[in-house]
Symmetry: C3
Subunit: 274 residues, 3 copies
């Protein structure tokens, strides 16, 4: 049983960190090697392009290790797993580790299915910079019993998963990002909260997956994973608030979200977090 | 040679059924296991999310049977078939059958290609709740000779396929939905017609595939496949009329279609079917 | 070392050719067999539908040869390569060659990765009607040393690649299209330039890949590959200018691009090239 340490510090993710990281993304255009799924690959690429990063999807076992060495960050997303993707992901993680390149684990639907649950338990020991998931996924990965996650929907709140997230972060030496109405990010000691966002984010496929990719991009330009994950979450959720104000439903919201990410500036970040 | 039985009843699908089924979708958020293709996976997920269902794409043979047992309905779409997907689909269908979970067959491009034609002929004997296709696909599946379908385009009208659709429904104990300018749905005895819709539906990829997914979602909340298929077709085609009125072309139509599905209410369904 | 022949003629691609080819696309709706990648498959299909062509994505080795014989043109795009796709692409190219069907090679990220570089070097000898790529990809394929392309970004300008493109076109008996701020298209003797376009094209995933598909569609209705490639490039880049004027960022640009392709007419083509 893990518990938050008494001395855990809670604070809201900083608008200034998000501004600085977004500037770096646009200045350097980091190459993000995305191993992701057939549902969200296009949207993920568009989210990364909208913030100024450079996405590339290379998912076959013949090329994944070679490409992970070229990339500035690597995303490993479980959405549509397959035996070849498993081999390719293992090779990419090993190559990223050798090269000192940060990589992010997004274990979609872990807990609901045995095959991916076992693979997630294997990969999480290989020191991802950040693990991102919803509460059910994080609870499953933490080995919590009683998690009733089915599919990609979370049946637990992010706050309920924070305790287990913190223990997972400490045991694995990683940072854990729990998505939800409030996002919690923790390295096992400190906790960042992100309160921005909008309900329409749950009515468009791939918003959570795109957050994982954005966390990877931010890890390419910010060395502290907790700060990088906080900046990525802030950037996406503030853009979502901007977009929701211009939307008539989930279709126009997804379009406006890309526009908002492209046009996001310091003033908007400060206003929405103020 | 099959013919419509003399006593076949023709009626227009009911707005009230569509209203009731849509309410149920939003109230219960059924989990729809989609085995579909790389072209339309994202759009399919967004259509399901827009009406309140919960899509999950699991297509590998290691997980498809396990996931079909968790899901409330299963979609088997042939778009981009492969040997592994064939194995995964067989396993998912078997698991759905054991669990009593309704599943929908969408045999994209059947007839044009031998590999998928043989597989469709195999799967259709496993009692799908609904088979959905355009006229050429349904004619091919029914074993009609002379069908000149090539790719996913239909060279026959839906009315021309109704006779064979009816025979197929009776022989296989299923419901057949034939998409076209007019949609015909039949369980081999009764025929529902849906006259709503818009030409722009044919200029956006995946609208037909998304209809298959929506039929599956409706089968999760409505026990009679003919009613479920009628409700799904009504919901999608009325939303298409709403969307077309707000569109400048196929790009904005696809976006507006998701918005319209999200905002669709009883008044709009009654007005457009009135 | 290859150089442009002294007698090389430079001219701007013709609006009248683009108008004629676009009319043919809409009149005949050619079936384009796309073997492309999971990131852009949906967007590619929507671009082809918006101009009136009929896309079909068949990428498995069981069906690709059979389908290439039915199709009016074939696209071979390397985006997310895999061993099965390699086998399927080889078979499709052989079948297209036997049938006299034009096919287009889009060797995404060639040069950055050994596996696809070797396969591109093999396929380019099989007489594609057109090879399309950015400057780095074309330089890599031409065997130029010193190309520093990484991923799908081009670190060389299209003008810098023109010399090698011309040599490649002559050696392989093909037409080479180099995408960039200015597009250069050459059959090794003549050079077409296209100056239209917009920077937002680089902030949406799949615009380059969709251009490859559009080149294939145009090759189905125009026998001279250089003219077909010029028309495709003109159609897409002029639509991009129309779309950019109606966009608030990359999300709305992608939507407006499909609307603009659908509504593109002779007047717009003449005005933007005038």
């Amino acid at each position: 049983m893990t518990t938050l340490r008494p001395q855990a510090s809670f604070r809201t993710a900083s608008a200034e960190d998000a501004i600085r990281v977004l500037d770096e993304l646009r200045r350097t255009g980091p190459l993000v090697h995305c191993m992701t799924n057939i549902v969200v690959a296009g949207f993920t690429a568009n989210v990364l392009l909208a913030v100024g990063a450079s996405p590339a999807m290379v998912e076959n076992s013949e090329e994944s290790a070679e490409f992970a060495q070229i990339a500035d960050a690597v995303l490993v997303n479980f959405g549509t797993l397959s035996p070849d993707r498993v081999v390719a992901m293992r090779a990419a993680v090993a190559a990223a580790t050798r090269a000192g390149t940060p990589w992010v684990l997004d274990p979609v639907a872990v807990g609901a299915l045995g095959y991916r649950t076992r693979f997630a338990a294997e990969l999480v020991t290989a020191r991802p910079a950040v693990v991102r998931g919803n509460a059910s996924e994080i609870l499953s990965l933490a080995g919590a019993t009683g998690s009733a996650g089915r599919g990609v929907d979370s049946t637990s709140t992010s706050a309920e998963a924070l305790d287990e997230a913190s223990g997972l972060a400490r045991r694995m030496g990683t940072t854990v990002a729990v998505s939800g109405a409030v996002d919690y990010l923790t390295d096992g000691t400190d906790v960042l909260e992100v309160h921005s966002g909008h309900e329409l984010m749950t009515r468009v496929t791939g918003v959570g997956c795109a957050l994982g990719a954005l966390v990877a991009a931010c890890c390419a330009v910010e060395a502290t994973p907790l700060i990088a994950a906080g900046a990525a979450t802030t950037i996406l959720t503030v853009a979502a608030e901007v977009a929701a104000a211009r939307s008539a439903g989930p279709g126009s919201f997804a379009v406006a979200l890309l526009d908002a990410l492209h046009g996001l500036d310091a003033a908007a970040l400060r206003t929405h977090l103020g």
